[in-house]
């Protein structure tokens, strides 16, 4: 790895980034998806520093979301999916916390959440979609009216309305004498109803990327999920990464880059910073760790022991990785062409 020059003063440590950006009660969006590119080192540091009262806005942040919920950092979640693929069809601590009423939860879909981040990025108050019409995602609020009022949340989860451009099925689109389309606009017309989703503008987005330039330019390899919309919608962005290279290296091939430096407030170089989730071209997910995580999560006592062993009693991510061991990290090392660990035992 090239020595970092920090030309923009953005390079820092996990501890400093958490202290500066992850305040109690903050609205936080995590990058990644289920078992891929979750900013786990940052998540562990938030847990270690006992950050409390977070409001997570998430599409499908399996491992990061579940770890934060399990460590008691989260008060409420707007979420599309709390699962972790085959390793946990429903994330276990998430499930427990919702069933016990320990976190407030409001459901959306993946597309809904991604669109809400896009609306935030575009600085518009809402965005329409046809997805979810007539479902309980639309009909049921997860946060009650009293809860919304008490926590300064918008009154409404979302709004359903007829397509305002729908001419009621008249091909010429003529308006009536009052200049309005037919009041009794037939909902069976060409447009029909749409769902208006409110924009999201999180206090903080935390992403884990493969490579960042020493000016803050971000390069992400593989699927970007909703990372880029989240970053553009947020009031602050912290990026953890596998490596930091001179800005000129990334500018030599700008087509590969994902975010400009001016969106990035802090950069932390944390090799294996997404472990136990995957980071394409660097390492695969760690099946053994994910399985033992899920096993421990099912029992409160075992979970407390697990948290203590892997989060609270390790000083930092280096010590965590030393505990994982070089042998295991070698097993999950990604093939440089395929991007994952070929033939990895994933049972």
């Amino acid at each position: 790895m090239t020595a970092a020059s920090d030309i923009d003063g953005k390079l820092t440590t996990l501890g400093d980034a958490v202290e500066r950006f992850a305040h109690d009660g903050a609205v936080v969006a995590l990058g990644g998806f289920t078992i891929n590119r979750n900013p786990m080192a940052f998540v562990y540091e938030m847990a270690r520093r006992r950050v409390r009262g977070l409001h997570l806005v998430a599409h499908s942040n399996g491992q990061g979301l579940d770890t934060l919920v399990g460590a008691g950092c989260v008060s409420r979640i707007e979420v599309a999916y709390g699962g972790n693929g085959r390793f946990a069809p429903t994330c276990v601590r998430f499930r427990r916390a919702v069933e016990r009423g320990e976190v407030a939860v409001e459901d959306y879909s993946n597309y809904h959440m991604a669109l809400r981040f896009l609306a935030g990025a575009l600085n518009v108050p809402f965005i329409p979609t046809k997805s979810g019409l007539h479902t309980d995602l639309v009909a049921r609020q997860g946060f009650s009216a009293a809860y919304r009022a008490a926590h300064g949340l918008p009154d409404k989860k979302l709004i359903v309305m007829p397509d305002p451009f729908d001419d009621g099925g008249r091909a010429d689109g003529a308006l009536d004498e009052g200049g309005r389309a037919d009041e009794a606009s037939d909902r069976r017309g060409p447009g029909g109803d749409v769902v208006l989703l409110p924009a999201l503008t999180p206090d903080l987005t935390v992403l884990h990327a493969q490579t960042v330039g020493d000016d803050g330019t971000v390069r992400i390899k593989g699927l970007t999920f909703a990372d880029l919309e989240q970053a553009k919608a947020s009031k602050a962005v912290v990026v953890t990464c596998e490596e930091i290279v001179p800005a000129a290296t990334l500018r030599a091939d700008p087509d590969q880059n994902a975010l400009p430096p001016f969106l990035v407030d802090a950069v932390v170089c944390v090799p294996h910073g997404a472990h136990p989730t995957a980071c394409r071209f660097f390492y695969d997910y760690d099946p053994g760790f994910l399985n033992s995580y899920a096993r421990a999560a099912r029992d409160d006592q075992a979970w407390a022991t697990f948290l203590d062993e892997w989060v609270y009693s390790v000083a930092d991510h280096d010590e965590y990785l030393a505990k994982i061991g070089a042998e295991q990290l070698a097993r999950i090392k990604a093939d440089p062409v395929r991007g994952y660990a070929i033939g990895l035992d994933r049972r």
């Binding site: 891929n36 590119r37 999916y81 309980d136 695969d284």
Partner: protein
């Protein structure tokens, strides 16, 4: 999302019985794969959906394209992904897009898109619940939630559901409607504002169910070898028309060989 399909199927996998040289999960994968045609764009999660797509592509629909909701389009699938964000869905693709792009493809009026979905509960009109059991505000069991399932059910040209057959899953009334099927049947899906889509079939460990073209009520279409209509009815929590049922074609030796040797040789999903 349809990562749930995997759990359902996991319980259904079972062992092959002495009189059937295949497991229920193998039958499910092959039965679902037969719905796929060349040119279809398949929106798949993980689990049985990927097996179905893998079989179809290798047997009768090499021109079908698999894409994953996270945005990986037409991956090599040399190794079975264990989640929709597995790095294996990003390998050998024509493009690695984002979530918004993925749903713009599934909603595209130019494309015939078929989604494979799983759920915890289904009703007679193919509406799905993957959110919770009990009251939403105080659930007795919380599941993963929609993920991309509600989006795919809303926007795709059609969808196919994987379920383990049982009275607690095939219910009169969903505890939560996560993903829209034919809603209240008849024209209700159109009236709600949807302009296409709806469930095409439900593939279970016992049978294949389809939906009446007018009422959009579920009916028994194909029973698997060794399964009686009465057994299907006894495991369904609402009245089921069995008058149109025929025997399902058992998996052929070729289908089984391709599924076992090429699609999931490690039996990561087949169990």
């Amino acid at each position: 999302m349809s990562e749930r399909a995997h759990t359902d199927a996991q319980q259904a996998a079972g062992a092959q019985t002495p009189d059937q040289p295949f497991t229920p999960r193998e039958m499910m994968a092959i039965a679902a794969g037969r719905f796929v045609s060349n040119g279809d764009i398949l929106f798949a999660g993980t689990g049985v959906a990927l097996l179905a797509a893998g079989c179809a592509k290798r047997i009768h629909a090499p021109g079908a394209v698999v894409f994953v909701e996270t945005g990986g389009i037409d991956p090599s699938l040399d190794e079975i992904p264990l989640a929709v964000a597995d790095s294996r869905v990003m390998d050998g693709t024509c493009i690695n897009a984002g979530i918004i792009e993925a749903f713009s493809y599934i909603a595209s009026p130019r494309l015939h898109t078929i989604a494979f979905l799983g759920a915890a509960q289904i009703d007679r009109y193919g509406n799905l619940n993957s959110t919770c059991i009990g009251d939403y505000d105080h659930p007795t069991v919380r599941f993963s939630g929609s993920g991309g399932a509600s989006d795919a059910a809303s926007l795709a040209s059609a969808f196919i559901v994987f379920m383990q057959h049982g009275r607690r899953k095939f219910v009169e009334r969903l505890d939560y409607l996560t993903s829209p099927g034919w809603l209240e049947g008849g024209e209700s899906r159109h009236n709600a504002g949807f302009r296409r889509g709806g469930p095409l079939a439900v593939v279970t460990d016992l049978c294949v169910l389809k939906f009446d073209e007018t009422t959009h009520e579920m009916y028994l279409a194909e029973r698997y070898p060794g399964v009686s209509d009465a057994h299907v009815v006894a495991n369904t929590g609402f009245a089921l028309d069995t008058s149109r049922a025929v025997d399902a074609v058992p998996p052929t030796p070729d289908e089984l060989r391709i599924l076992r040797d090429e699609v999931d040789p490690q039996r990561l999903i087949l169990g």
